[in-house]
Amino acid sequence: MTRAIIVFLFLSAWLSSEAHAQAPAAADRSCDRCTYPEGWFLETEIGGGYVSDGAVRFGDYTGLDDAGGIVIGDVAAEFWGESGVHWRFGGRDLGLDSRSMVIDGGRQGRYGLRLSIEQLPHDRFEFAATPFINPASSSLQLPADWVPGATTGAMSALNQSLRPVQIGTDRETVGLGLSVVPTSRLEIDVDYRHSTKEGTGTYGGSFLNTATILPRPVDHETQTLDAGMTYRADDWSVRVGYFGSLFDNDAPALRWENPFSPVVPGATEGQAALEPDNSFHQLTMSGQYRPVGHTQLTGSLAVGRMEQDEDLLPFTTNPALLSMLPVPSLDVEVDTLQAVLRIASRPMRKLRLRGAYIFDERDNKTPSLDWAGVIGDALPAASRRNLPYDYERYTIDLEADYRLPFGIKAYAGWQRGVNERAFTEVNRSEEDELWGRLKFRLGHRADLALKYVFADRDIAGYQPVADTQPPQNARLRKYHLADRERAGLELHLALRPLDILDFSLAAEFMDDDYDDSPLGLTSAQYESVYADASLSLPGGIALSAHGGYEQTESAQRGSQSFALSDWRASNNDRSVFAGAVMTLPRWLERFDVRLAYTFADSAGEIRTDTFGLRDEFPELDTRLHRVEGNVDYLWRDDLTVRFGWIFEDYRVDDWSVDGVDPATLPRVLGLGNRWSGYDVNVVSLSLRYSWSGSK
């Protein structure tokens, strides 16, 4: 971060120097009545608050996870100088772990600079515990008095060894941006970002028939550089650019002591490879050309390479099974190519045409080698080769719309997608999609749009991949590779019965039928209805309400006899959402009031039917009530006292973690991680002050 600030200050000074201070041609017109700002403007909010209860989920991404006092600090400052000089400083949530700051500005039309810093805390579980004495280490160790067991129940020292561990990460991103406008037609932009993510994650590490949920380290660093040069002529423009992304993992491997009794001699330690350092470099060129008024051609070409050659770990940590690696590291290399050509034209006032050809290739150049691996650091495996998976796909997209009489507009489109893959069950799939849309405009009071879409995906044979061992059931059709018919209907309605009242409705129904899938996903349906209403009353009073319902259902089949289907399962995910907002400005002349309420409920049902025996999992359920309000007392023109209040009530039932302690599963030593419900109140009192040093 320090380096970024130094670079930012250097660039600021250099670009502000005389050599770069030439004033661009000013407008010929003077303007006495134009109130161009000059000098400083400041808006700030400073105060404190109190969080009633600690709740990890409530504090996820916000930094409000601990009970106790908080500091409120927001600031927005601007400087307006002569000749287009403008600087802005913004700071948000400065008293919290989710703070962000930005400085940007420059001389408009000449150069711009931007420095930003953002922090983002992400906490995953309300509670988790592990016997490892050094969570988040790359080499996890058990206590000295640990007693291994064949099952978790036999680990006699487990309870006394468990220690809480916080599963979550903190992300910090520093951005540095520069744009230079040497001439009115040329612009150069550079955007550099440095991001770190540190903390503790989870990783399931197994030894053949036992596993441990490990508190793995997360120590990631990502740098990206996005730079380009744009030239704009009257009828065309072109941009050439470079995008680079370097990912560095300071914890590329995870070693852990096996808390279970070794399943085979020597299986006392395991080691997994975490995400390798990798890089992605891409050159891009894009352009637009307008040969005539309302016709535009757009083209884009992006050539990239993603690669990594991280040193490989040994096949196993088990000294009894050690063998030589075929290579110390593998040049894993994927070339990417994307080419896009679009045309949009309005040959007649009422007719618009669009066409696109989109090509996307992932060319995997990684050598395919034989690997005589070890399963779970315990069992020698048959030699297998890595498959350099890649694809090549293209889409042709044609659309037209025509404005008919009586406020009706008709749209129609056809899209054809072709996907060719290597080392998968389906070498080539083709999907054709046809859609039509009618939009009715009834004056300025109503808009209604209806859309129907039908798509048909065909595959060129389904052949299980020979390299997949043990083999898949030949009747399985992976859902993204399977024949599919899709039909969908969308409705959008916008009404404005009165100038003060707006109403919107959006409904969508989608049906997917995998008509040639004896096993795997066989059908899926999605439906949703959402509505919004807003009312504007005299005095600036505004009321709005929004709500909706959404459901996704799917059905799948399986075969535990490895033959014909002998079980099926259905999923049904539902969510309901409702909310209302009221704003009341200048209430009793000196109060601004805003109050918002949100309710969200999600539910999930899973049913199975195995050999005719029906079963149903308990319902997955979350429920949220949130009230958020603030009252601003306008003490003076430049000073406001704000009272804020947030109340959140959250409940969760999730059978995958409820009642699952570290030792609940005999052969999986878990973290006992869980989400918990909570009731949290946050109250705050702050001063909002605005100041103008304008000349």
Partner: protein, 305 residues
């Protein structure tokens, strides 16, 4: 600048024709309105409310920038020449916003006159096809355009994208409702070369811009992960942890049918109180297959290392 002046005048003439204000009176080519000799001084004599003068706290009022409206014809750069636009009974000017009389195509042409090369691929975008006007989303006569903020932009998008507002309140989501991420982090509303108007060249490249660790490439890949993140993740919000589209093991069993544990029908009998099953509880399949996005371990073909 001369070219822009002519475009302004023609646009205004077209706007007036379209709105029926001068249509019948103009036989043949419309007469081009003339610019005010006093520029913004003339406009501000009447239009001097904060709702108008807020533009002076915005980039559009930078007179020193020859590309800015106030570096050119001031108010008339966007609203067209004054012509006979006079108090109470004069001609209309080009106006902006969802309730403006100026046809949306002409509104947008005024903006595109400067922004065509910098604002994505507007003419090919779904927003253009939906007859959306720039001023339907952007607030120009203000120091701060809410579309350009992280915290307020989503609300503007939700005005039309009603589903996404509700989806962002599902239990597992990106931090949009917390004000730490906005829609334009992934989507370019002005059109882009990619599907769903994503900011990068395809879906996975967009995801990798924040999740570079998932990019690999790995020695042993999990093909769906390398092809399309949305095959397993619901990016606008999900009822399931990690924004998965479905709860494991059923999610994984849509593609894995090998004899043995991948093909077994797991039931509620595997919950606590029954015979707790590692294929159902905690991380389910990920209890053992921890490297689900791909493995760089020489023994990682089953994504267990």
């Amino acid at each position: 600048m001369i070219a822009r002046m002519h475009r302004c005048a023609v646009a205004l003439a077209l706007a007036l024709s379209c709105s029926g204000i001068v249509g019948a009176a103009t036989e043949g080519a419309p007469e081009l309105p003339v610019f005010s000799p006093e520029g913004a001084n003339t406009c501000l004599a009447c239009h001097n409310t904060p709702a108008v003068t807020g533009i002076f706290r915005s980039v559009h009022s930078a007179a020193a920038d020859a590309r800015s409206p106030f570096g050119q014809y001031q108010c008339e750069s966007c609203h067209g020449p004054q012509g006979q636009h006079l108090p109470l009974h004069g001609d209309a000017i080009i106006s902006f916003g969802p309730n403006a009389k100026t046809p949306v195509g002409i509104q947008n042409d005024m903006c595109l006159d400067c922004h065509a090369a910098t604002k994505g691929d507007w003419l090919s975008s779904s927003h253009e096809a939906g007859d959306l006007g720039c001023a339907d989303c952007h607030v120009l006569h203000a120091g701060r355009d809410s579309m350009l903020t992280v915290t307020e932009q989503p609300d503007r998008c939700y005005a039309c994208h009603l589903q996404q507002r509700g989806q962002m309140f599902k239990p597992y989501v990106h931090p949009v409702r917390q004000g730490k991420m906005n829609c334009s982090a992934c989507h370019d509303p002005h059109g882009s070369v990619a599907e769903f108007e994503l900011t990068s060249n395809n879906l996975n490249e967009t995801c990798y811009s924040c999740h570079a660790e998932k990019r690999g490439p790995f020695v042993f890949e999990h093909p769906p992960a390398a092809e399309d993140c949305s095959l397993c993740h619901e990016v606008h919000g999900s009822n399931h942890p990690a924004m998965l589209t479905k709860r494991p093991p059923l999610l994984c069993q849509q593609c894995h049918s090998q004899s043995g544990h991948p093909s077994v029908s797991y039931t509620s009998g595997g919950l606590p109180g029954g015979s707790p099953s590692p294929f159902v509880l905690a991380g389910s399949c990920m209890n053992c297959h921890g490297s689900v996005h791909g493995s760089n371990h020489p023994s990682g073909i089953t994504l267990m290392r």
